[in-house]
Symmetry: C2
DNA sequence: TTGTAGGCGTTATCAG
DNA sequence: CTGATAACGCCTACAA
């Protein structure tokens, strides 16, 4: 269909060419492209005509080289593809981010930094392709990302474990969330309560466990029924099996994410334990997985989509030069009662 | 932690600065950065030292402006975030793409072009930020994307409906796949067979339906039990309800995707129809959803992950100047028997 | 309101 | 092997 087909793409039109076509200077074309008000109507019309005729689109590299801004931000996810696509939590966050970005001129570059989040990602962030970055699912040890913050503004989703005053993040109070879940189990009469935790190199993992421990301590109950997983279904399945082997009389279970809770549910079924009769289960997130689960999950709701929106909003304000953005942005959680507990 | 904190980021080091630090010319630094062999060992060492000392990272905009290549490709997905994250099929494709890209120097820019895939996305592709693009889940009417192919090489995942000789794509034979599924249902004794189709503005939707019709015709069975959905669970649930209302004696069902099949399964359960005893169900994709489904799905396997890999591979070869890449790349499907039929 | 000219950080083409 | 010296396409004072 195109003359010549593949291998002979037409050279992209440039400002220069548009200028010639419209009989004006490059500067003038640049002005109309960037919506400057100081352009006479006739010239504006002529230039727009030339742009349309040549089908001109500004070259982004040249533009950002000259203006020192890219109009793009990166979303860094130090997880492998499977994890990223497997957990609805991420979908919600991304949803919120794109919602905010759609209201702006910014473009999103998704970096699923599967292996080695360090070197490659940091180089990317420092290479000037993006004006700022959003980092979610940050693990302890990914310090290079924090280092990258020296080059470009970064907003974290989830409190970085090594929190310093410089980091900006949005999160929920995971300790409180863990307590809410645990207290509910206790209040409904459970006594032998356990928990499947998230990875302990993430603040969400550590804090939710911490909340569990505190509530158990307050109630004078033992907090030894703890098994660690990695926010994946497979990990949760394995952890739940270990836990049931070790604590056969378990009657309550707080699982640190809804996705993992679905895994726990399947193990409980395979072991013939009725939910919630024999074992009450409380999840965390209130993601779609909670409702579509075989047994709808009682869970600690967190406003994931809003958190994504907020992250993007903070970054955009930061990029706009707003120095008043608050560094700790804590959003509320609440218990949602369904069938599992 | 950083002197000055936010708002006072240090200017990024440039080639120029490295050159000065190492007492050589910019050209020489450029050579070592790009791994040119024609550099003396001493100079190389000196330059590398300077690079390390200054923590230099090349500016991507400048580089691509000068070299007219970006080392990045885009993955365009004309679907909203929910759909994209909701269907494991996409996860598999992305997985395959990143696997191929990890073997190369190319970076992936994910464009979930939610609303208006046209204008914004095309501008992006034409703005020179990527060397090429991968397009999946292409709908009829997204012709602007095809147009964009005039500016940058594009490889499609799934045959574009308006196939012309220029388009390069990888796909399976969906007609054949639809026939395989339908024939299996017929072979196992089903006679009142229906189908839940994908969207009819996508070749995958149309072709699988076509396969169904052909097989039914060959068997001399009626092909009126057809309802259209959109590859989403919600859509499938609604379509299945309509179908059961209209064809109460249904005993076989071919659903155009595994994700939709899970929706169909839930409707069948809600209507008290046993699977596969009362109604046999065959899906399509063989995605993780097929196995984790309440009733493991009998389904038409397609090598999604491989298809992603192949797409990326074709594009990379294209970008490398390989003019011998084949335009129609059809991969095999096969029936996988599980519990649902 | 419009044009001129210099520069953004690299790559690439030449001489040396 | 190394160093000038143009581009690359666009933005932005500064002039006119």
């Amino acid at each position: 269909m195109h003359a010549g087909g593949i291998g002979s793409r037409p050279a992209a039109p440039t400002l220069e060419m548009v200028a010639r076509e419209a009989n004006v200077s490059r500067a003038t074309v640049s002005r109309v492209v960037n919506g400057s008000p100081k352009v006479s109507p006739e010239v504006l019309a002529a230039v727009n005509a030339a742009i349309a005729k040549l089908n001109y689109v500004p070259n982004r590299a040249a533009r950002s080289l000259a203006s020192r801004t890219t109009n793009a931000i990166a979303l860094v996810v130090p997880e492998d593809t499977t994890r990223f696509f497997g957990d609805p939590y991420f979908a919600a966050i991304v949803q919120g981010i794109t919602r905010r970005l759609d209201e702006s001129e910014y473009l999103l570059n998704l970096l699923i930094s599967t292996s080695d989040p360090n070197r490659k990602t940091v180089r990317y962030l420092r290479s000037g392709v993006v004006d700022g970055a959003l980092v979610i699912s940050h693990h302890e040890g990914d310090d290079s990302l924090v280092e990258a913050a020296g080059s470009v503004p970064i907003v974290f989703g989830g409190r970085p474990e090594r929190e310093s005053d410089d980091e900006i993040f949005v999160d929920v109070d995971n300790v409180e969330g863990g307590m809410t879940a645990t207290e509910y189990l206790i209040a409904t009469g459970r006594r032998r309560i356990g928990t499947i935790t998230g990875p302990l190199d993430m603040s969400a993992g550590v804090d939710r466990l911490d909340g569990f421990r505190r509530s158990m301590a307050v109630a004078g109950l033992p907090d030894d029924a703890v098994e660690t997983a990695d926010f994946s279904v497979a990990g949760s399945v394995a952890a739940t099996r270990r836990l049931l082997d070790r604590v056969p009389d378990l009657d309550g279970l707080f699982v640190a994410s809804d996705l993992m809770a679905t895994g726990a549910l399947s193990v409980l079924r395979e072991r013939g334990r009725r939910v919630p009769d024999d074992v009450a289960v409380v999840g965390f997130d209130d993601s779609p997985a909670a409702m579509s689960s075989a047994i709808p999950l009682t869970t600690v709701h967190q406003p994931s989509e809003e958190m994504g929106y907020e992250m993007a909003d903070l970054l955009i304000r930061l990029l706009a030069g707003d120095t008043t953005v608050s560094h700790r942005n804590i959003m509320p959680t609440r218990l949602v009662r369904r069938a599992s507990a």
